[in-house]
Symmetry: C2
Subunit: 325 residues, 2 copies
Protein backbone atom coordinates (compact mmCIF):
# COMPACT_ATOMS: atom_id res chain seq x y z
CA UNK A 1 0.00 0.00 0.00
CA UNK A 2 2.72 2.40 -1.05
CA UNK A 3 0.15 5.05 -1.95
CA UNK A 4 -1.07 5.78 1.55
CA UNK A 5 2.15 5.74 3.50
CA UNK A 6 3.37 8.82 5.34
CA UNK A 7 1.74 11.16 7.80
CA UNK A 8 0.47 13.49 5.05
CA UNK A 9 -1.36 10.84 3.04
CA UNK A 10 -4.78 11.45 4.55
CA UNK A 11 -4.38 15.21 4.93
CA UNK A 12 -5.61 18.12 2.90
CA UNK A 13 -3.49 21.09 1.89
CA UNK A 14 -4.71 23.24 4.74
CA UNK A 15 -3.64 20.59 7.23
CA UNK A 16 -0.17 20.32 5.70
CA UNK A 17 0.08 24.10 5.91
CA UNK A 18 -0.93 23.83 9.57
CA UNK A 19 1.88 21.34 10.27
CA UNK A 20 4.41 23.68 8.65
CA UNK A 21 3.01 26.65 10.55
CA UNK A 22 3.30 24.83 13.87
CA UNK A 23 6.91 23.88 13.16
CA UNK A 24 7.68 27.48 12.27
CA UNK A 25 6.09 28.80 15.45
CA UNK A 26 8.13 26.32 17.50
CA UNK A 27 11.32 27.32 15.73
CA UNK A 28 10.67 31.03 16.26
CA UNK A 29 10.17 30.20 19.91
CA UNK A 30 13.44 28.22 19.95
CA UNK A 31 15.25 31.39 18.78
CA UNK A 32 13.25 33.86 20.84
CA UNK A 33 16.32 34.95 22.81
CA UNK A 34 17.93 36.46 19.71
CA UNK A 35 17.37 40.23 19.75
CA UNK A 36 16.99 40.15 15.96
CA UNK A 37 14.06 37.74 16.29
CA UNK A 38 12.11 40.52 18.02
CA UNK A 39 12.03 42.31 14.68
CA UNK A 40 11.92 39.28 12.37
CA UNK A 41 9.16 37.27 13.99
CA UNK A 42 6.30 39.51 12.86
CA UNK A 43 6.88 38.87 9.21
CA UNK A 44 7.83 35.23 9.78
CA UNK A 45 4.52 34.59 11.50
CA UNK A 46 2.37 36.93 9.41
CA UNK A 47 0.92 34.06 7.40
CA UNK A 48 1.89 33.83 3.78
CA UNK A 49 1.18 30.83 1.62
CA UNK A 50 4.00 28.64 2.95
CA UNK A 51 4.26 27.58 -0.65
CA UNK A 52 7.85 26.34 -0.47
CA UNK A 53 7.76 24.36 2.79
CA UNK A 54 4.37 22.78 2.00
CA UNK A 55 5.63 21.58 -1.38
CA UNK A 56 8.87 20.42 0.23
CA UNK A 57 7.06 18.30 2.84
CA UNK A 58 4.78 16.77 0.21
CA UNK A 59 7.71 16.06 -2.11
CA UNK A 60 9.55 14.37 0.78
CA UNK A 61 6.71 11.92 1.36
CA UNK A 62 6.03 11.52 -2.35
CA UNK A 63 9.67 10.37 -2.57
CA UNK A 64 8.92 7.62 -0.06
CA UNK A 65 10.02 9.17 3.24
CA UNK A 66 7.84 9.96 6.26
CA UNK A 67 7.67 13.56 7.43
CA UNK A 68 10.01 14.07 10.37
CA UNK A 69 11.87 16.77 12.18
CA UNK A 70 14.73 16.62 9.70
CA UNK A 71 12.46 17.48 6.76
CA UNK A 72 10.51 20.06 8.71
CA UNK A 73 13.73 21.90 9.51
CA UNK A 74 14.80 21.66 5.87
CA UNK A 75 11.41 23.06 4.85
CA UNK A 76 11.76 25.88 7.37
CA UNK A 77 15.17 26.66 5.93
CA UNK A 78 13.58 27.41 2.55
CA UNK A 79 10.78 29.45 4.10
CA UNK A 80 13.12 31.49 6.27
CA UNK A 81 15.53 32.25 3.42
CA UNK A 82 12.49 33.25 1.35
CA UNK A 83 11.40 35.60 4.13
CA UNK A 84 14.91 37.07 4.31
CA UNK A 85 14.69 37.97 0.63
CA UNK A 86 11.25 39.55 1.14
CA UNK A 87 12.56 41.73 3.97
CA UNK A 88 15.44 42.89 1.78
CA UNK A 89 13.32 43.28 -1.38
CA UNK A 90 10.89 45.48 0.51
CA UNK A 91 13.71 47.86 1.36
CA UNK A 92 14.84 48.55 -2.17
CA UNK A 93 11.30 48.34 -3.55
CA UNK A 94 10.35 50.88 -0.86
CA UNK A 95 7.31 48.73 -0.07
CA UNK A 96 5.11 49.88 2.80
CA UNK A 97 3.04 46.74 3.27
CA UNK A 98 3.81 43.02 3.24
CA UNK A 99 1.26 40.35 4.07
CA UNK A 100 -1.09 43.12 5.18
CA UNK A 101 1.32 44.55 7.76
CA UNK A 102 3.82 47.39 7.72
CA UNK A 103 7.14 46.20 6.26
CA UNK A 104 9.97 45.66 8.73
CA UNK A 105 12.08 48.56 7.53
CA UNK A 106 9.16 50.99 7.31
CA UNK A 107 8.41 50.21 10.95
CA UNK A 108 11.91 49.93 12.40
CA UNK A 109 14.20 51.61 9.88
CA UNK A 110 16.48 50.46 7.09
CA UNK A 111 19.30 49.30 9.38
CA UNK A 112 16.97 46.99 11.27
CA UNK A 113 15.54 45.73 7.98
CA UNK A 114 18.95 44.90 6.55
CA UNK A 115 20.25 43.34 9.76
CA UNK A 116 17.09 41.29 10.38
CA UNK A 117 17.22 40.02 6.81
CA UNK A 118 20.86 39.00 7.27
CA UNK A 119 19.88 37.27 10.49
CA UNK A 120 17.13 35.33 8.68
CA UNK A 121 19.56 34.28 5.95
CA UNK A 122 21.85 32.97 8.69
CA UNK A 123 19.08 30.93 10.30
CA UNK A 124 18.03 29.56 6.93
CA UNK A 125 21.54 28.48 5.94
CA UNK A 126 22.12 27.02 9.36
CA UNK A 127 18.97 24.88 9.18
CA UNK A 128 19.92 23.80 5.69
CA UNK A 129 23.49 22.98 6.70
CA UNK A 130 22.18 20.55 9.32
CA UNK A 131 21.37 18.29 6.36
CA UNK A 132 24.94 18.29 5.08
CA UNK A 133 27.04 20.04 2.45
CA UNK A 134 25.04 18.70 -0.52
CA UNK A 135 21.91 20.43 0.70
CA UNK A 136 23.64 23.70 1.45
CA UNK A 137 25.15 23.56 -2.03
CA UNK A 138 21.66 23.50 -3.54
CA UNK A 139 20.51 26.32 -1.24
CA UNK A 140 23.58 28.39 -2.11
CA UNK A 141 23.20 27.84 -5.85
CA UNK A 142 19.55 28.78 -5.51
CA UNK A 143 20.38 31.98 -3.68
CA UNK A 144 23.08 32.90 -6.18
CA UNK A 145 20.51 32.33 -8.93
CA UNK A 146 18.12 34.52 -7.02
CA UNK A 147 20.62 37.37 -6.75
CA UNK A 148 21.39 36.97 -10.45
CA UNK A 149 17.70 37.03 -11.37
CA UNK A 150 17.11 40.18 -9.33
CA UNK A 151 20.11 41.93 -10.85
CA UNK A 152 19.07 40.91 -14.36
CA UNK A 153 15.61 42.29 -13.67
CA UNK A 154 17.18 45.63 -12.80
CA UNK A 155 19.17 45.59 -16.01
CA UNK A 156 15.92 45.26 -17.95
CA UNK A 157 13.88 47.90 -16.10
CA UNK A 158 12.18 50.00 -18.76
CA UNK A 159 13.93 47.99 -21.50
CA UNK A 160 11.26 47.54 -24.16
CA UNK A 161 13.56 45.18 -26.04
CA UNK A 162 13.49 42.57 -23.26
CA UNK A 163 13.07 39.15 -24.88
CA UNK A 164 11.10 36.14 -23.64
CA UNK A 165 14.50 34.48 -23.08
CA UNK A 166 15.57 37.35 -20.80
CA UNK A 167 12.25 36.98 -19.01
CA UNK A 168 12.76 33.27 -18.39
CA UNK A 169 16.26 33.86 -17.08
CA UNK A 170 14.90 36.44 -14.66
CA UNK A 171 12.01 34.37 -13.34
CA UNK A 172 14.01 31.15 -13.25
CA UNK A 173 16.48 32.91 -10.98
CA UNK A 174 14.16 34.81 -8.72
CA UNK A 175 11.06 32.61 -8.49
CA UNK A 176 11.22 29.19 -10.11
CA UNK A 177 14.74 28.34 -8.90
CA UNK A 178 13.93 28.62 -5.19
CA UNK A 179 10.81 26.47 -5.61
CA UNK A 180 12.72 23.91 -7.68
CA UNK A 181 15.53 23.95 -5.12
CA UNK A 182 13.08 23.31 -2.28
CA UNK A 183 11.60 20.29 -4.07
CA UNK A 184 15.04 18.98 -5.05
CA UNK A 185 16.34 19.23 -1.51
CA UNK A 186 13.27 17.38 -0.22
CA UNK A 187 14.08 14.50 -2.53
CA UNK A 188 17.74 14.55 -1.47
CA UNK A 189 16.92 14.55 2.24
CA UNK A 190 14.51 11.66 1.53
CA UNK A 191 17.47 9.78 0.03
CA UNK A 192 15.48 9.27 -3.13
CA UNK A 193 16.97 7.97 -6.39
CA UNK A 194 18.49 10.53 -8.68
CA UNK A 195 15.65 10.33 -11.21
CA UNK A 196 13.06 10.97 -8.47
CA UNK A 197 15.06 13.97 -7.23
CA UNK A 198 15.21 15.30 -10.78
CA UNK A 199 11.47 14.76 -11.30
CA UNK A 200 10.69 16.70 -8.12
CA UNK A 201 13.04 19.46 -9.20
CA UNK A 202 11.38 19.67 -12.65
CA UNK A 203 8.01 19.88 -10.97
CA UNK A 204 9.33 22.84 -8.95
CA UNK A 205 10.68 24.64 -12.02
CA UNK A 206 7.40 24.34 -13.88
CA UNK A 207 5.17 25.29 -10.95
CA UNK A 208 7.50 28.17 -10.16
CA UNK A 209 7.30 29.57 -13.69
CA UNK A 210 3.51 29.31 -13.65
CA UNK A 211 3.51 30.97 -10.24
CA UNK A 212 5.44 33.98 -11.49
CA UNK A 213 3.27 34.33 -14.58
CA UNK A 214 0.15 34.36 -12.40
CA UNK A 215 1.84 37.13 -10.42
CA UNK A 216 2.39 39.03 -13.65
CA UNK A 217 -1.30 38.76 -14.53
CA UNK A 218 -2.40 39.71 -11.03
CA UNK A 219 -0.37 42.88 -11.34
CA UNK A 220 -2.55 43.81 -14.31
CA UNK A 221 -5.88 42.79 -12.83
CA UNK A 222 -5.23 43.50 -9.16
CA UNK A 223 -7.57 42.23 -6.52
CA UNK A 224 -9.49 45.07 -4.90
CA UNK A 225 -11.26 42.60 -2.59
CA UNK A 226 -7.88 41.67 -1.08
CA UNK A 227 -6.68 45.25 -1.07
CA UNK A 228 -4.00 44.33 -3.59
CA UNK A 229 -3.11 47.30 -5.77
CA UNK A 230 -2.53 46.78 -9.46
CA UNK A 231 0.12 48.17 -11.74
CA UNK A 232 3.11 48.05 -9.40
CA UNK A 233 5.22 46.34 -12.08
CA UNK A 234 4.07 48.82 -14.73
CA UNK A 235 4.99 51.81 -12.62
CA UNK A 236 8.39 50.28 -11.80
CA UNK A 237 9.07 49.51 -15.45
CA UNK A 238 9.35 45.76 -14.80
CA UNK A 239 9.09 43.80 -18.01
CA UNK A 240 6.48 41.13 -17.27
CA UNK A 241 5.50 38.48 -19.79
CA UNK A 242 2.18 40.01 -20.93
CA UNK A 243 3.99 43.25 -21.69
CA UNK A 244 6.90 41.55 -23.44
CA UNK A 245 4.47 39.52 -25.53
CA UNK A 246 2.41 42.57 -26.48
CA UNK A 247 5.53 44.53 -27.43
CA UNK A 248 6.59 41.67 -29.69
CA UNK A 249 3.17 41.10 -31.23
CA UNK A 250 1.82 44.59 -31.84
CA UNK A 251 2.86 46.65 -34.84
CA UNK A 252 2.34 50.11 -36.24
CA UNK A 253 0.12 52.46 -34.25
CA UNK A 254 -0.76 49.89 -31.62
CA UNK A 255 2.87 49.23 -30.85
CA UNK A 256 3.59 52.97 -30.66
CA UNK A 257 0.62 53.49 -28.37
CA UNK A 258 1.73 50.68 -26.08
CA UNK A 259 5.21 52.13 -25.86
CA UNK A 260 3.75 55.50 -24.99
CA UNK A 261 1.44 54.02 -22.33
CA UNK A 262 4.33 52.14 -20.72
CA UNK A 263 6.78 55.03 -20.78
CA UNK A 264 4.26 57.48 -19.37
CA UNK A 265 1.84 55.41 -17.34
CA UNK A 266 -0.81 56.84 -15.03
CA UNK A 267 -4.03 55.59 -13.45
CA UNK A 268 -6.20 57.03 -16.23
CA UNK A 269 -4.45 54.91 -18.84
CA UNK A 270 -5.54 51.51 -17.53
CA UNK A 271 -8.31 51.05 -20.14
CA UNK A 272 -5.90 51.92 -22.91
CA UNK A 273 -3.33 49.40 -21.65
CA UNK A 274 -5.80 46.57 -21.13
CA UNK A 275 -7.32 47.17 -24.57
CA UNK A 276 -3.90 46.92 -26.20
CA UNK A 277 -3.16 43.72 -24.29
CA UNK A 278 -6.46 42.33 -25.55
CA UNK A 279 -5.73 43.28 -29.14
CA UNK A 280 -2.36 41.54 -28.86
CA UNK A 281 -3.93 38.52 -27.18
CA UNK A 282 -1.22 38.72 -24.53
CA UNK A 283 -3.36 37.94 -21.52
CA UNK A 284 -4.78 34.86 -23.20
CA UNK A 285 -1.28 33.89 -24.30
CA UNK A 286 0.09 34.06 -20.78
CA UNK A 287 -2.88 32.12 -19.43
CA UNK A 288 -2.26 29.32 -21.92
CA UNK A 289 1.42 29.33 -21.02
CA UNK A 290 0.53 29.01 -17.34
CA UNK A 291 -1.65 26.01 -18.17
CA UNK A 292 1.13 24.46 -20.15
CA UNK A 293 3.68 24.88 -17.33
CA UNK A 294 1.23 23.35 -14.86
CA UNK A 295 0.65 20.49 -17.29
CA UNK A 296 4.38 19.89 -17.56
CA UNK A 297 4.70 20.04 -13.78
CA UNK A 298 2.08 17.34 -13.45
CA UNK A 299 3.72 15.23 -16.13
CA UNK A 300 7.11 15.43 -14.48
CA UNK A 301 5.65 13.59 -11.48
CA UNK A 302 4.61 10.64 -13.65
CA UNK A 303 7.61 8.51 -12.71
CA UNK A 304 6.76 8.70 -9.00
CA UNK A 305 4.45 6.06 -7.53
CA UNK A 306 0.94 7.40 -7.22
CA UNK A 307 0.05 8.60 -3.73
CA UNK A 308 -2.13 10.99 -1.81
CA UNK A 309 0.91 13.28 -1.57
CA UNK A 310 1.29 13.40 -5.36
CA UNK A 311 -2.38 14.28 -5.63
CA UNK A 312 -1.91 17.11 -3.15
CA UNK A 313 1.10 18.39 -5.08
CA UNK A 314 -0.97 18.43 -8.25
CA UNK A 315 -3.86 20.11 -6.46
CA UNK A 316 -1.43 22.68 -5.09
CA UNK A 317 -0.02 23.35 -8.55
CA UNK A 318 -3.47 23.74 -10.13
CA UNK A 319 -4.68 26.00 -7.34
CA UNK A 320 -1.63 28.17 -7.60
CA UNK A 321 -2.50 28.79 -11.25
CA UNK A 322 -5.96 30.00 -10.26
CA UNK A 323 -5.03 32.03 -7.20
CA UNK A 324 -6.13 35.62 -6.81
CA UNK A 325 -3.57 36.80 -4.24
CA UNK B 1 61.18 19.93 15.28
CA UNK B 2 57.54 20.68 15.91
CA UNK B 3 58.19 24.40 15.93
CA UNK B 4 59.07 24.77 12.30
CA UNK B 5 56.46 22.55 10.66
CA UNK B 6 53.94 23.97 8.25
CA UNK B 7 54.21 26.13 5.17
CA UNK B 8 53.87 29.35 7.18
CA UNK B 9 56.68 28.65 9.63
CA UNK B 10 59.34 30.60 7.78
CA UNK B 11 57.05 33.37 6.53
CA UNK B 12 56.41 36.87 7.69
CA UNK B 13 52.98 38.42 8.11
CA UNK B 14 53.05 40.12 4.74
CA UNK B 15 53.74 36.79 3.04
CA UNK B 16 50.85 35.12 4.83
CA UNK B 17 48.65 38.00 3.74
CA UNK B 18 49.88 37.43 0.19
CA UNK B 19 48.90 33.75 0.31
CA UNK B 20 45.40 34.69 1.48
CA UNK B 21 45.15 37.39 -1.16
CA UNK B 22 46.10 34.96 -3.89
CA UNK B 23 43.50 32.43 -2.74
CA UNK B 24 40.87 35.17 -2.71
CA UNK B 25 41.73 36.32 -6.22
CA UNK B 26 41.47 32.72 -7.43
CA UNK B 27 38.13 32.27 -5.75
CA UNK B 28 36.74 35.50 -7.21
CA UNK B 29 37.85 34.21 -10.57
CA UNK B 30 36.15 30.85 -9.89
CA UNK B 31 32.86 32.74 -9.40
CA UNK B 32 33.40 35.32 -12.12
CA UNK B 33 30.37 34.09 -14.09
CA UNK B 34 27.98 35.23 -11.34
CA UNK B 35 26.48 38.57 -12.35
CA UNK B 36 26.56 39.63 -8.69
CA UNK B 37 30.34 39.16 -8.64
CA UNK B 38 30.63 42.02 -11.11
CA UNK B 39 29.52 44.33 -8.32
CA UNK B 40 31.05 42.49 -5.37
CA UNK B 41 34.57 41.92 -6.63
CA UNK B 42 35.70 45.53 -6.31
CA UNK B 43 35.28 45.59 -2.57
CA UNK B 44 36.47 41.98 -2.17
CA UNK B 45 39.73 42.81 -3.91
CA UNK B 46 40.17 46.35 -2.60
CA UNK B 47 42.75 45.29 -0.07
CA UNK B 48 41.81 45.47 3.56
CA UNK B 49 43.85 43.93 6.33
CA UNK B 50 42.69 40.33 5.76
CA UNK B 51 42.81 40.18 9.54
CA UNK B 52 40.42 37.23 9.92
CA UNK B 53 41.79 34.89 7.24
CA UNK B 54 45.44 35.59 8.14
CA UNK B 55 44.79 34.78 11.79
CA UNK B 56 42.77 31.72 10.75
CA UNK B 57 45.60 30.33 8.62
CA UNK B 58 48.14 30.94 11.36
CA UNK B 59 45.88 29.37 13.99
CA UNK B 60 45.44 26.32 11.75
CA UNK B 61 49.16 25.69 11.57
CA UNK B 62 49.68 26.63 15.20
CA UNK B 63 47.21 23.82 15.96
CA UNK B 64 49.48 21.36 14.15
CA UNK B 65 47.96 21.24 10.65
CA UNK B 66 49.58 22.30 7.39
CA UNK B 67 47.91 25.02 5.36
CA UNK B 68 45.86 23.49 2.56
CA UNK B 69 42.99 24.27 0.28
CA UNK B 70 40.49 23.23 2.95
CA UNK B 71 41.74 25.85 5.40
CA UNK B 72 42.16 28.52 2.75
CA UNK B 73 38.51 28.10 1.76
CA UNK B 74 37.49 28.24 5.41
CA UNK B 75 39.53 31.41 5.83
CA UNK B 76 37.92 32.91 2.73
CA UNK B 77 34.53 32.07 4.17
CA UNK B 78 35.25 34.34 7.15
CA UNK B 79 36.64 37.11 4.94
CA UNK B 80 33.72 37.01 2.51
CA UNK B 81 31.09 37.04 5.26
CA UNK B 82 32.98 39.96 6.80
CA UNK B 83 32.87 41.77 3.46
CA UNK B 84 29.13 41.07 3.18
CA UNK B 85 28.57 42.81 6.50
CA UNK B 86 30.69 45.79 5.37
CA UNK B 87 28.61 46.19 2.20
CA UNK B 88 25.41 46.14 4.23
CA UNK B 89 26.77 48.34 7.05
CA UNK B 90 27.81 50.96 4.52
CA UNK B 91 24.22 51.18 3.30
CA UNK B 92 22.65 51.99 6.63
CA UNK B 93 25.64 54.03 7.77
CA UNK B 94 25.31 55.95 4.49
CA UNK B 95 29.06 55.63 4.03
CA UNK B 96 30.51 57.04 0.84
CA UNK B 97 33.96 55.46 1.00
CA UNK B 98 35.30 52.04 1.96
CA UNK B 99 38.93 51.02 1.64
CA UNK B 100 39.49 54.25 -0.24
CA UNK B 101 36.90 53.52 -2.95
CA UNK B 102 33.27 54.50 -3.42
CA UNK B 103 31.00 52.14 -1.49
CA UNK B 104 29.07 49.59 -3.54
CA UNK B 105 25.65 51.12 -2.93
CA UNK B 106 26.83 54.69 -3.51
CA UNK B 107 28.14 53.60 -6.90
CA UNK B 108 25.42 51.15 -8.00
CA UNK B 109 22.41 51.91 -5.80
CA UNK B 110 20.89 50.45 -2.66
CA UNK B 111 19.29 47.46 -4.40
CA UNK B 112 22.63 46.34 -5.82
CA UNK B 113 24.26 46.87 -2.43
CA UNK B 114 21.72 44.75 -0.60
CA UNK B 115 21.68 42.01 -3.25
CA UNK B 116 25.48 41.88 -3.55
CA UNK B 117 25.78 41.64 0.22
CA UNK B 118 23.28 38.77 0.28
CA UNK B 119 25.26 37.11 -2.48
CA UNK B 120 28.47 37.42 -0.47
CA UNK B 121 26.78 35.94 2.61
CA UNK B 122 25.73 33.02 0.44
CA UNK B 123 29.27 32.42 -0.82
CA UNK B 124 30.63 32.67 2.71
CA UNK B 125 28.19 30.18 4.19
CA UNK B 126 28.70 27.85 1.28
CA UNK B 127 32.49 27.83 1.73
CA UNK B 128 32.01 27.29 5.45
CA UNK B 129 29.49 24.50 4.93
CA UNK B 130 32.05 22.58 2.90
CA UNK B 131 33.75 21.90 6.23
CA UNK B 132 30.65 20.31 7.74
CA UNK B 133 27.75 21.25 10.02
CA UNK B 134 29.93 21.95 13.06
CA UNK B 135 31.77 24.71 11.23
CA UNK B 136 28.61 26.27 9.84
CA UNK B 137 27.17 26.20 13.35
CA UNK B 138 30.04 28.38 14.57
CA UNK B 139 29.67 30.71 11.58
CA UNK B 140 25.93 30.98 12.13
CA UNK B 141 26.28 31.65 15.85
CA UNK B 142 28.89 34.27 15.05
CA UNK B 143 26.61 36.00 12.54
CA UNK B 144 23.67 35.92 14.93
CA UNK B 145 25.94 37.48 17.55
CA UNK B 146 26.96 40.07 14.98
CA UNK B 147 23.34 40.98 14.22
CA UNK B 148 22.64 41.15 17.94
CA UNK B 149 25.66 43.37 18.57
CA UNK B 150 24.65 45.75 15.77
CA UNK B 151 21.07 45.95 17.04
CA UNK B 152 22.25 46.53 20.60
CA UNK B 153 24.49 49.32 19.36
CA UNK B 154 21.45 51.00 17.79
CA UNK B 155 19.56 50.69 21.07
CA UNK B 156 22.35 52.62 22.77
CA UNK B 157 22.81 55.38 20.20
CA UNK B 158 22.95 58.65 22.14
CA UNK B 159 22.34 56.76 25.41
CA UNK B 160 24.65 58.46 27.90
CA UNK B 161 23.81 55.78 30.46
CA UNK B 162 25.46 53.02 28.40
CA UNK B 163 27.51 50.86 30.78
CA UNK B 164 30.85 49.14 30.17
CA UNK B 165 28.89 45.86 30.27
CA UNK B 166 26.65 47.08 27.45
CA UNK B 167 29.77 48.09 25.57
CA UNK B 168 31.36 44.65 25.91
CA UNK B 169 28.15 42.96 24.76
CA UNK B 170 28.12 45.19 21.67
CA UNK B 171 31.76 44.72 20.70
CA UNK B 172 31.77 41.01 21.54
CA UNK B 173 28.90 40.58 19.11
CA UNK B 174 30.02 42.80 16.29
CA UNK B 175 33.83 42.61 16.38
CA UNK B 176 35.39 40.13 18.79
CA UNK B 177 32.94 37.29 18.08
CA UNK B 178 33.74 37.03 14.36
CA UNK B 179 37.49 37.05 15.08
CA UNK B 180 37.09 34.46 17.83
CA UNK B 181 34.87 32.38 15.55
CA UNK B 182 37.47 32.46 12.79
CA UNK B 183 40.21 31.23 15.14
CA UNK B 184 37.94 28.59 16.66
CA UNK B 185 36.94 27.23 13.26
CA UNK B 186 40.61 27.03 12.25
CA UNK B 187 41.27 24.82 15.26
CA UNK B 188 38.24 22.67 14.47
CA UNK B 189 39.20 22.22 10.82
CA UNK B 190 42.72 21.30 12.02
CA UNK B 191 41.10 18.57 14.15
CA UNK B 192 42.85 19.99 17.20
CA UNK B 193 42.02 18.92 20.77
CA UNK B 194 39.21 20.75 22.48
CA UNK B 195 41.55 22.73 24.76
CA UNK B 196 43.58 23.94 21.78
CA UNK B 197 40.41 25.02 19.99
CA UNK B 198 39.34 26.90 23.11
CA UNK B 199 42.73 28.56 23.47
CA UNK B 200 42.60 29.78 19.87
CA UNK B 201 39.07 31.04 20.41
CA UNK B 202 40.13 32.93 23.57
CA UNK B 203 42.97 34.48 21.65
CA UNK B 204 40.43 35.69 19.08
CA UNK B 205 38.13 37.18 21.69
CA UNK B 206 40.93 39.13 23.33
CA UNK B 207 42.51 40.37 20.11
CA UNK B 208 39.05 41.29 18.83
CA UNK B 209 38.26 43.37 21.88
CA UNK B 210 41.58 45.17 21.63
CA UNK B 211 40.97 45.68 17.92
CA UNK B 212 37.65 47.42 18.52
CA UNK B 213 39.09 49.61 21.28
CA UNK B 214 41.85 50.74 18.94
CA UNK B 215 39.11 51.62 16.47
CA UNK B 216 37.41 53.66 19.18
CA UNK B 217 40.60 55.61 19.83
CA UNK B 218 41.29 56.11 16.12
CA UNK B 219 37.87 57.69 15.80
CA UNK B 220 39.01 60.33 18.28
CA UNK B 221 42.46 60.91 16.87
CA UNK B 222 41.81 60.21 13.19
CA UNK B 223 44.64 59.76 10.75
CA UNK B 224 44.88 62.69 8.38
CA UNK B 225 47.83 61.03 6.63
CA UNK B 226 45.58 58.12 5.66
CA UNK B 227 42.66 60.39 4.85
CA UNK B 228 40.72 58.84 7.70
CA UNK B 229 38.23 61.33 9.15
CA UNK B 230 37.76 61.53 12.88
CA UNK B 231 34.62 61.82 14.93
CA UNK B 232 32.31 59.57 12.91
CA UNK B 233 31.25 57.73 16.07
CA UNK B 234 30.74 61.00 17.94
CA UNK B 235 28.50 62.43 15.24
CA UNK B 236 26.50 59.20 15.08
CA UNK B 237 26.06 59.10 18.84
CA UNK B 238 27.86 55.75 19.14
CA UNK B 239 28.91 55.06 22.70
CA UNK B 240 32.58 54.09 22.45
CA UNK B 241 34.63 53.08 25.45
CA UNK B 242 36.55 56.36 25.94
CA UNK B 243 33.24 58.21 26.02
CA UNK B 244 31.55 55.72 28.35
CA UNK B 245 34.54 55.88 30.69
CA UNK B 246 34.60 59.67 30.71
CA UNK B 247 30.85 59.86 31.38
CA UNK B 248 31.31 57.53 34.34
CA UNK B 249 34.39 59.25 35.73
CA UNK B 250 33.63 62.93 35.38
CA UNK B 251 31.47 64.82 37.85
CA UNK B 252 29.96 68.26 38.29
CA UNK B 253 30.74 70.85 35.65
CA UNK B 254 33.03 68.58 33.66
CA UNK B 255 30.36 65.92 33.32
CA UNK B 256 27.79 68.55 32.30
CA UNK B 257 30.19 69.98 29.73
CA UNK B 258 30.91 66.54 28.29
CA UNK B 259 27.20 65.83 27.98
CA UNK B 260 26.74 69.13 26.20
CA UNK B 261 29.66 68.49 23.82
CA UNK B 262 28.32 65.04 22.94
CA UNK B 263 24.72 66.11 22.45
CA UNK B 264 25.66 69.09 20.33
CA UNK B 265 28.93 68.19 18.68
CA UNK B 266 30.59 70.16 15.92
CA UNK B 267 34.09 70.47 14.44
CA UNK B 268 34.96 73.47 16.63
CA UNK B 269 34.43 71.46 19.80
CA UNK B 270 37.25 68.95 19.29
CA UNK B 271 39.62 70.69 21.72
CA UNK B 272 36.93 70.80 24.37
CA UNK B 273 36.19 67.09 23.94
CA UNK B 274 39.83 65.97 23.98
CA UNK B 275 40.54 68.09 27.04
CA UNK B 276 37.65 66.49 28.92
CA UNK B 277 38.86 63.02 27.91
CA UNK B 278 42.29 63.94 29.24
CA UNK B 279 40.91 65.21 32.53
CA UNK B 280 39.00 61.94 32.94
CA UNK B 281 42.05 59.92 31.95
CA UNK B 282 39.84 57.99 29.51
CA UNK B 283 42.27 57.74 26.64
CA UNK B 284 44.98 56.41 28.91
CA UNK B 285 42.47 54.04 30.48
CA UNK B 286 41.47 52.59 27.12
CA UNK B 287 45.12 52.26 26.10
CA UNK B 288 45.88 50.27 29.22
CA UNK B 289 42.82 48.09 28.61
CA UNK B 290 44.01 47.42 25.07
CA UNK B 291 47.39 46.33 26.45
CA UNK B 292 45.71 44.07 28.94
CA UNK B 293 43.55 42.39 26.28
CA UNK B 294 46.61 41.83 24.10
CA UNK B 295 48.41 40.42 27.12
CA UNK B 296 45.57 38.00 27.77
CA UNK B 297 45.49 37.05 24.09
CA UNK B 298 49.16 36.15 24.25
CA UNK B 299 48.70 34.22 27.49
CA UNK B 300 45.85 32.17 26.07
CA UNK B 301 48.27 30.72 23.53
CA UNK B 302 50.55 29.41 26.28
CA UNK B 303 49.20 25.84 26.08
CA UNK B 304 50.10 25.57 22.39
CA UNK B 305 53.53 24.26 21.42
CA UNK B 306 55.82 27.12 20.56
CA UNK B 307 56.19 27.72 16.82
CA UNK B 308 56.90 30.37 14.24
CA UNK B 309 53.16 30.58 13.67
CA UNK B 310 52.49 31.39 17.31
CA UNK B 311 55.12 34.11 17.11
CA UNK B 312 53.40 35.55 14.05
CA UNK B 313 50.03 35.48 15.83
CA UNK B 314 51.54 37.37 18.73
CA UNK B 315 53.23 39.83 16.40
CA UNK B 316 49.91 40.31 14.62
CA UNK B 317 48.12 40.94 17.91
CA UNK B 318 50.70 43.46 19.10
CA UNK B 319 50.74 45.27 15.77
CA UNK B 320 46.98 45.49 15.71
CA UNK B 321 47.13 47.34 19.02
CA UNK B 322 49.48 49.90 17.51
CA UNK B 323 47.84 50.29 14.12
CA UNK B 324 46.89 53.71 12.81
CA UNK B 325 44.26 52.69 10.23
Amino acid sequence: MKGIRGVLAQRNLREVQGIVEKALIEYVDERSEDPAMKYAKDILLAGGKRFRPVLGCLAYEAAGATLDDKMLRTALSAEIIHTATLVHDDIYDQAKLRRGRPTLHSQHGIAHGIISGDYLFTLGYWLGAEQGPEVIKVLAETCIGLANGELLQFDHIGDLGTSPEDYYRIIDGKTAGPIAGGCKVAGMVANADQEIVEALESFGWEVGRAFQMVDDLLDLTGNPRMGKPRGTDIYEGKMTLPIIHALTTLHGNNRENLEDVLMDFSEDRWDELIELLEVSGSIGYVRSLIDSHIQRAVESLAILPNSGQIELMIEFARKSALRST
